[in-house]
């Protein structure tokens, strides 16, 4: 320990605080651990009483989430012969055969296309607007910035009705393009506000030096500001991606067969006999784990992202 300080908590205080926080963390993480655990259980282990903490892991849930299966009689099973692959063998012990792929992979791909598509658009539009708001004298600047933020206050359901009508008449309903545009608009407020904060922090002197050296404004933006803002742009992109990835209300109202993303799909996963919880958990695990990894990578910028740059620390 260094010199005595009145603001340094005592050793006992640290211990008590540490124990309480760790206890809370363990309780709060339990549902997430349970999702991942359930994804490796057999259906009967998943609904056992008392809930099973220790079990023999199986990837049945993962096979089930990617496939559809049908139940066959003994004779039919004998007629098709021995199962050929490891996943065939896995479902065969329950008297089932795989009848085809499920739509999960497709929904997951949709989530990726729409998530990445809208993130790229959001960053391109957001960086440009944020730069202009940060460096130029834009007329009505504060009003425009507030307008951009206020679009976030609207309940999605409130604008869903006309968007539904608008998309229908433009042929955008249930398409990737429509959802990419919509998610871009939803996340644009976040991207402009966050990026403006990041660009504000870059000293203006760099650009002035570049301008004096004969760069055009655009070159100065492109060659001086963008590289400096790279970290900010990257973390903003991850936030846009996560929010688009998690979005549910618009997805469930405006998409169905073609462009549906994973969040409306995962809760509808059912097995051959009732809700197949390990399959739901497997789908959820595949869907949630990437976000957990990104959250850990983002932890330094998390606060800024969730408060639209209002709190920077």
């Amino acid at each position: 320990m260094s010199s005595y300080s009145v603001t340094e908590p005592s050793r006992r205080q640290k211990w008590v605080a540490g124990i309480l926080v760790v206890l809370y963390a363990l309780i709060t993480i339990l549902p997430l651990v349970w999702i991942i655990g359930t994804s490796f259980k057999t259906p009967s282990d998943a609904i056992a009483y008392p809930p099973k903490t220790f079990f023999t892991p199986t990837v049945e849930g993962y096979v089930n989430v990617f496939t559809t299966r049908t139940r066959l009689t003994e004779e039919q099973l004998r007629a098709i012969g021995e199962p050929q692959t490891w996943y065939d063998r896995l479902v065969r012990k329950d008297g089932l055969v795989i009848s085809g792929p499920s739509r999960f992979a497709e929904r997951f791909t949709n989530s990726m296309i729409i998530g990445f598509g809208s993130t790229v658009l959001c960053i391109v539009l957001g960086t440009a607007a944020a730069y202009a708001f940060s460096r130029f004298k834009v007329p009505l600047k504060d009003d425009l910035l507030f307008f951009i933020l206020s679009t976030r206050m609207m309940p999605p359901i409130a604008v869903a009705i006309p968007i539904f009508l608008m998309f229908r008449s433009l042929g955008l309903s249930d398409t990737h393009a429509g959802m990419i545009l919509l998610y871009t608009a939803v996340n644009l407020s976040l991207s402009v506000w966050l990026l403006k904060g990041f660009i504000d922090e870059i000293p203006i002197e760099y650009e002035e030096a570049a301008l004096i050296d004969g760069y055009t404004r655009f070159q100065a933006f492109y060659k001086v500001v963008l590289p400096q803002a790279a970290t900010g742009i990257a973390s903003t992109a991850v936030f846009c991606l996560i929010f688009a990835w998690n979005e549910y209300a618009f997805a469930v109202l405006l998409t169905s067969g073609n462009a549906q993303t994973a969040p409306p799909f995962i809760p509808t996963i059912i097995g051959v006999s009732g809700q197949d919880w390990p399959a739901v958990a497997a789908g959820a695990t595949l869907f949630l784990v990437p976000v957990m990894v990104f959250t850990i990578l983002l932890r330094k910028h998390l606060l800024r992202g969730i408060t639209f740059g209002a709190v920077r620390k």
Partner: protein, 315 residues
Amino acid sequence: MLHSPVDRVAEATPRAIAKRFRGLSDRSLAWLFVAPTIVLLLAVNIFPLIWTIRLSFTNFRVNRPNAEVEFVGLKNYISILSDKDIWLTMQATAHFLIWTLVLQVLIGFALAYLINKKFRGNDLWTTIIVLPMMLSPAVVGNFWTFLYQPQIGLFNYAVGFLTGADPSSFSMIGDVTLAPWAIIIVDTWMWTPFVMLICLAGLRSIPDSIYEAAECDRASKWRQFWTITIPLVLPFLMLAVLFRGIENFKMFDLVVQLTGGGPGSITELTSINLKREAFEKWRTGYASAYAVILFVTVFGLASIYVKALNKVKQR
């Protein structure tokens, strides 16, 4: 900006050279950069909003495109505001809003206060606590229905284990008195870290010197807490409440997946009720009026609140 060195150089440069060297003028570049964002937001937010307002004065129904659309004036608004069921959903929303805010502020602040004691490894545990907040509410909400199952659910088992009650004797999402708490618990689990992070930033922004000065003045720890810590964290706390308030007023995904508004319509929050009117009963005009009322409410409450927040900040 105007008197920066660049501007002085620019003013001194002959026009033709300036043009060649600077390409687009700052002004046109500014418009070029801002316009796409504004156009997209106008198209996807403001245009639909105006359309909603227009529809709210009609009896239009999406599922009857051929029926004649009549202008009905304020009829939709009057029937919504005099509808008892809608006031019940408003009450359900208020109950949800108030309790989630109270719990999240209390637990969030307490956690931030403890983390600020800087015990070893506090970064790691903070990151773990934050995880639920970033996940998809719909997917997680759906899985909570499994945790809430009477016999096999982990939540019921844990409650039974701690209190000695029979885990199959109660159903969090099937019971009329418990369902409102079921959604409050999950929302609090999910969003307490949000309040915690903001409070932590507030606590860390207080300079040590203030506490040192208070210590010199022999102020008790208790006194220091109420006269230094709380007032200085308050603006941050209020900001957290603003964000959570707006989000929870709009609450849809988590609750739809958890209870679907049930049992009966006990947990039918306004967004869920609105979705029912608009996309199940297809009363488009009526639902539009409903949407306008909700939007005005959020916007109005948020504006009043922001004014209060600015006053606290100025103190």
